[in-house]
């Protein structure tokens, strides 16, 4: 007998049945699903086909839901999937999706909460490394989609009088992200990308700037001091303030700073330079 609880309830019922984990029969009996359509009436909502029962047909959508979202997570976290392996990654994805269902029209941001979710997941191998890997891949996904902003040109840099550099404020390009890790997770991703044996997982405090150059994602390793100076500059400090704050004004450090600065400029890390009021 046809069953029509109305469009609102029909859609709420079907969605809840799709998103509820477990097998299909227990899903339609779950409280949130049965609140829309009683479990005893669930099979009456859907017509059987010649080859499939109503709940088998519903189960097609349930299977596609988890597979689609898990696949979307893997697109943003290929290194994590590679390290954990297919089965473990699928388990992690299922747990995550269950607690973080998508709330936007785009799948691009589905994995935004994964780095914060992972520390609460029990039983992951090398959990601190896994956390770093997730944080790094999340940073990369943000930088990948950031707006394109032209980098400072040689002419713009040369136009700044030498004596004015201490008062210069440098604005990073939009596709720019600084990250501190406990493991050199970028080396793992690089080996994966190049299809090479994965490096051993050894703890080493690592400082990176993730950025984009000619639309390609780059990760550049920094010294601890270089990382600190870039953090200050990105926060709006002048170059002089950043140098003083991180004790880079000694003659020995000055040469080191000069070399780093040249590298940052050639990598196109900044989009503009402005001079603070004297």
């Amino acid at each position: 007998m046809p069953l029509d609880p109305g469009l609102v309830r029909t859609q709420r019922w079907m969605q809840a049945a799709i998103m509820t984990p477990g097998d299909c029969e227990s899903a339609v009996a779950a409280e949130a699903v049965a609140a829309e359509v009683p479990a005893a009436q669930a099979t009456g909502m859907i017509l059987p086909s010649k080859t499939m029962e109503p709940l088998e047909r519903l189960d097609i959508y349930r299977g596609m839901y988890e597979a689609r979202l898990s696949e979307a997570l893997e697109v943003d976290y290929p290194g994590l999937a590679d390290f954990l392996g297919e089965h473990r990654f699928a388990e992690l994805a299922s747990l995550y999706i269950g607690e973080n269902p998508s709330r936007t029209y785009t799948l691009n941001r589905l994995g935004d909460n994964l780095p914060g979710f992972i520390p609460d997941v029990e039983g992951l191998p090398r959990e601190k490394f896994v956390q770093d890997l997730a944080r790094l891949e999340h940073a990369q996904s943000i930088v990948f989609d950031a707006e394109e902003t032209p980098a400072l040109t040689q002419q713009q840099i040369a136009a700044v009088p030498e004596e004015s550099w201490p008062d210069a404020r440098l604005t990073p390009i939009a596709a720019f992200h600084l990250i501190e890790l406990r493991y050199p997770a970028h080396l793992y991703l690089r080996a994966m990308r190049d299809n090479k044996p994965r490096p051993p997982i050894r703890r080493k405090q690592t400082y990176l700037v993730i950025h984009r150059r000619d639309y390609a994602l780059m990760s550049m390793e920094l010294t601890k001091q270089g990382y600190a100076v870039l953090i200050s500059l990105a926060s709006g400090a002048t170059l002089g303030e950043a140098i003083l704050a991180h004790k880079m004004h000694t003659p020995a450090r000055h040469k080191q700073l000069f070399t780093m600065f040249q590298q940052w400029m050639s990598e196109g890390l900044f989009q503009s330079v402005s001079l603070a009021a004297q």
Binding site: Q11, Q15, S49, I60, L69, Y105
Partner: protein, 282 residues
């Protein structure tokens, strides 16, 4: 037969896919047009955005989306529509399409093209939303028939009559996915020829063709293979009834090289020219 808006028969196109970006930029292949998945380009300023601008400079573009959720009982997402409108202007899109479906309710999103119950209530609801969306976009929305894997017992309408009535009442265009007609006919046991014969030709502005995966008990619309003969036969029937309509080949899983996908799209040309034979029923 021309559609009522005078949208051009753009010829034979394929979907713009990431794996083909480098080939397209370096070879600038001779292809009639590209269909772009709107959501893939709305929120990125990176390489996809750059490539799209390059492609839009050289080729006609049509926008095709999966997230409008036209049939949902949630409020219309005007933030999404605003971005879509901006993208359409930026790419000088010939038209903008999405699906007759819903993707989520209660603020959640399944990211799937979920089936509508074909009831009077659903029809009235969808007509109103399509009118609102078309008005916002300042162009007639074009809606595609989805592949579906279940039918609601509450449905009083056939999908084709629901779609035809919706198109007339909401004054929208149709993207007739011939593969989806075949897939749904297999899954639900109707005659795909009747479906095609009941669609108003003057509403159809685009055709989709694709391969699928037959699981025995049902067919999944996977866009993962060549178009099967039964679908080509239906395409020929569409051409006989409706004339030349912009035709697009979709290939989204296990995507082969650009030239293979393009060659599959160009097969459609011979089905427009070949004499009409009685197509297979599903």
């Amino acid at each position: 037969m021309a559609n009522r808006w005078g949208y051009s028969d753009l010829g034979f196109g394929i979907g713009l896919r990431t794996v083909h970006f480098s080939h397209i930029l370096s070879h600038q292949p001779s292809i009639d047009w590209f269909e772009v998945l709107s959501e893939n380009f709305m929120d990125t300023g990176g390489r996809p955005s750059y490539v799209l601008d390059q492609v839009a400079e050289r080729y006609p573009i049509v926008l095709h989306g999966v997230s409008m959720s036209v049939g949902s009982t949630d409020p219309i997402n005007f933030d999404f529509l605003g971005k879509l409108k901006t993208l359409a202007a930026r790419t000088r899109a010939h038209w903008v399409s999405d699906h007759l479906c819903w993707t989520g309710v209660a603020g959640l999103n399944t990211h799937d093209l979920l089936p509508m119950p074909y009831t009077g209530e659903a029809l009235r609801h969808t007509i109103q939303r399509v009118k609102t969306i078309s008005e916002f976009l300042e162009r007639p929305l074009v809606l595609e028939n989805p592949s579906t894997y279940l039918e609601f017992s509450a449905s009083h309408w056939t999908e084709w009559d629901f779609l035809a009535t919706l198109a007339e009442e909401a004054d929208c265009g149709l993207l007739l996915d011939v593969n989806n007609v075949y897939v749904s006919s297999y899954n639900h046991g109707f005659d795909p020829r009747e479906y095609i014969d009941r669609i108003p030709p003057d509403r159809v502005v685009q055709i989709h063709l694709a391969g699928h995966t037959n699981k025995g008990t049902h067919i999944l619309d996977t866009h993962s293979d060549h178009v099967i003969d039964e679908v080509w036969d239906l395409y020929r029937r569409v051409y006989r009834r409706m004339g030349g309509i912009a035709t697009l080949l979709e290939w989204d899983e296990d995507i082969p090289a650009f030239d293979i996908v393009h060659a599959e799209a160009l097969k459609a040309r011979q089905y427009r020219e070949a004499p009409v034979e009685e197509p297979h029923a599903a």
